[in-house]
């Protein structure tokens, strides 16, 4: 068995399952947002803010953000292990990716509950 310590779930099976579950969540969220924009052609700040003031929308959005974070980690980790053969470079890029994902996640939470 091949060992690994920087993959998302430390297991190919768990990463694979998480990649598929997060993809479904992101697809549902995308369809919802696009549909909301289509059904509200005269969208103003109050309608947009009203949508995100509701608890279910915040939960739905946070779910989508977490799914995006996991999805990005698993996908980009795979890309780095395919193409970056220098260990120093690979670990460095993986660290930058994970840090970036963490920053975006916290920033997203702040936007959701901050306004």
């Amino acid at each position: 068995m091949v060992t690994n310590i920087t993959s998302f779930g430390r297991s190919g099976l768990s990463d694979w399952l998480m990649q598929r579950v997060s993809a479904v969540i992101l697809a549902v969220y995308t369809v919802f947002i696009v549909a909301f924009l289509l059904f509200n052609p005269d969208l103003d700040y109050y309608a947009w803010s009203g949508l995100f003031n509701q608890t279910w929308m915040r939960i739905f959005s946070l779910l989508a953000f977490v799914a995006l974070a996991a999805h990005a980690w698993i996908g980009l980790w795979t890309v780095t292990t395919d193409y970056l053969k220098s260990t120093r470079l690979r670990v460095g890029v993986q660290a930058v990716i994970i840090l970036g994902i963490f920053v975006y996640l916290v920033w997203g939470i702040q936007i959701l509950w901050g306004a």
């Binding site: 068995m1 091949v2 190919g12 099976l13 795979t78 395919d82």
Partner: protein, 236 residues
């Protein structure tokens, strides 16, 4: 009809500093011969040309090579299947170290094959007669046991090119499922636990190059999907 223009990958590490393509003009006398026949005609022109071949009928899997960009067995690939604009480009199987000309080092390929333990394991006492299978159990092995290990699929797979030491590759995984699916094998859970890391099986991205090139018409992608289903059923 003009002669077939063939461009062949040549590399002799003892005398050449770098690989190069050598041009041949081959007179096929208008017949739709196999690519292997063309190689033999070229060998008459230049006896130094090295390639593997044995059975010349698609059973031994020795003459897997890249013909006009697609992997296949030279002995069962007619010119009409691959030649475009009267040109044929022959290269060794991609992704494996070249020993000389069209001959590649299959070491990594066999190492991955060895890793999946390609033999029946059964820890129950042997019966007085053979371990019998029902016709339905035997049917599960169809489409799996026919693999001749020619390496056309694994060397057409980018995941195998990038991680040949970690990703088992389509050929190895097809054989892995052949033993996972066998009713006489009792090592299923040990086999599965050796495959659940992010590389061995899960580096497959399902692009199906393996299915497109398999000269025996087998479907490694389907077998990989079955292994994933078994892993999921075992671990959830």
């Amino acid at each position: 009809m003009s002669n077939l223009q063939v461009s062949v990958y040549r590399y002799n590490p003892e005398t050449d500093s770098a690989p190069y393509m050598q041009e041949f003009q081959v007179d096929t006398k208008g017949r739709d011969v196999m690519v292997l026949d063309v190689l033999h005609i070229m060998k008459e022109q230049d006896s130094g040309l090295a390639f593997r071949r044995s059975c010349r009928e698609g059973v031994c899997g020795s003459d897997g090579m890249n013909m006009n960009g697609k992997n296949g067995l030279a002995c069962i690939t007619p010119l009409s299947d691959v030649v475009k604009n009267n040109k044929l480009v022959l290269r060794p199987l991609p992704g494996l170290p070249v020993i000389r000309d069209m001959v590649v080092d299959m070491g990594l390929f066999y190492k991955q094959y060895e890793r999946i333990q390609p033999y029946l394991q059964n820890d129950t006492p042997p019966p007085a007669i053979e371990r019998l299978q029902s016709p339905e159990e035997r049917d599960k092995l169809d489409g799996l046991y026919e693999c001749i290990l020619c390496a056309c699929c694994s060397t057409a797979c980018p995941s195998f090119w990038w991680n040949p030491e970690k990703f088992v590759g389509p050929a190895g995984l097809l054989q892995s499922y052949r033993f996972l699916a066998d009713s006489r094998d009792t090592a299923t859970s040990e086999r599965l636990s050796n495959l659940e890391d992010p590389f061995s099986v899960f580096r497959c991205r399902g692009i199906m190059n393996c299915v497109a090139v398999c000269p025996k018409g087998l479907n490694p992608t389907r077998a990989i999907g079955k292994i994933r289903e078994m892993l999921l059923a075992d671990a959830t």
